[in-house]
Amino acid sequence: MIDKQVISTALAVADIPDGACVMIGGFGEAGSPTELIHALIDQGAKNLTIINNNTGNGEIGLAALIGNGQVKKMICSYPRSRHSKIFPELYRAGKIELELVPQGTLAERIRAGGAGIPAFYTATTVGTQLADGKETRTIDGRDYVLEYGLQADYALIKCEYADLTGNLTYNKTARNFNPLMCMAANITIVQARKLVGPGAIDPEHVITPNIFVDHIVEISTPLIEADLIAENRRYP
């Protein structure tokens, strides 16, 4: 029987090499695979390109990965937020690259990367400086810019239920970018709050079909980012 379980986060991320492009799910705290990110900090891969909507909060999770000097470039839509300080400091110091992508275009580029669409047109950014240098085209009298699909070597994903074959469901707005990133990464690594047997998830309720999932670690009581930030905790 197909069994994609891995027994530890360390084993799950062990093969991620220096220079890899890694998609990390989540929107703020919701759906963020914090334990997998911490394992990647322990593992130490460097010169990473990270795709996430944000740049992490406080000194844990994605912010800690950046603070640990492992990230060469961020591709994201919103690199500043209330509790974000590590990325802004490094960015101002010229120590990290940024590709700023509108949130909807980021989502669509990831979906395109997973769906075999190399490029598409969108009206988002037309007439703004984010369209500078981009190819444009008029279709039925409206202007559009050409955007390219995004793919990654790895995706780090948080889900609610996973079955052993890799079917996933998510909790509420923790769904966000996770299902898209599962599609767009060569290797998808998932931390599941609950790992169940094949057939335990109704086929009608599967959000990410198992074809998009490679490795699963069960993390039944994941860290709650807001609590860690309130306590000024840092990782490691």
Partner: protein, 208 residues
């Protein structure tokens, strides 16, 4: 402002509210109407903030604050969420502004200064995709600089997209001929609004 904006939104509209001032619109749903709130991080049918202690860190809005769901809500991923936005399915979006031009250009994502961390989020997608864009804003910055201008000086979020501005001084339509006063706030004169607007403002009488 928020109440007046809410009163202009038709019954059964699908509405997206920007972070900050626009969020207040949700408090003023007019009697007999029902709005369905969309938050771009994957929820349609968003309800008010939960009671203290009832928060779920994985049930949040685009501003990353805890919310609830109304009956008839649904969750979806970012691809589907922005399909709703980009595909023209959201009826009304209420956004904040740094600057609005008389052509309806909006600037609300960056001051363009060298040390600013650029951050756009979903603003450009909303601007490009939603049918009707309302702006809700203080009429000037804290130090009195006008936000309604002949041309935006900050980097644009989108061109020719704003149809109406709700400020603390007035409601102003963006028309093909420029800013058109629609309604004054109580105790405010046309001259006061005009003085704080760095573009020509057509008074009520000139309405076509």
């Amino acid at each position: 402002m928020a109440q007046l904006a809410a009163s202009d939104i038709p019954d059964r509209s699908y509405v997206n509210l920007g972070i900050g001032l626009p969020e207040l619109v949700a408090k003023y749903v007019p009697k007999g109407r029902e709005f369905i709130y969309h938050t771009e991080n994957g929820l349609l049918g968003m309800g008010p903030a939960p009671e203290l202690g009832e928060e779920d860190p994985e049930l949040i809005n685009a501003g990353k604050k805890p919310v609830t769901t109304n009956p008839g809500a649904s969750f979806f991923h970012h691809g589907d969420s922005f399909a709703m936005i980009r595909g023209g399915h959201i009826d009304v979006c209420v956004l904040g502004a740094m600057q609005v031009s008389q052509q309806g250009d909006l600037a609300n994502w960056s001051t363009g200064t060298p040390d600013a961390i650029p951050a756009v989020g979903g603003a450009m997608d909303l601007i490009a995709g939603v049918k009707t864009i309302y702006v809700i804003t203080q009429h000037t910055t804290k130090n009195g600089t006008p936000k309604l201008l002949e041309q935006c000086t900050y980097p644009l979020t989108g061109k020719g997209v704003v149809t109406r501005v709700y400020s603390n001084l007035a409601i102003i339509d963006v028309t093909s001929r420029g800013f058109q006063l629609r309604q004054l706030a109580p105790g405010i004169t046309f001259q006061e609004v005009s003085d704080r607007t760095k573009a020509s403002l057509m008074p009520l009488e000139q309405e076509p």
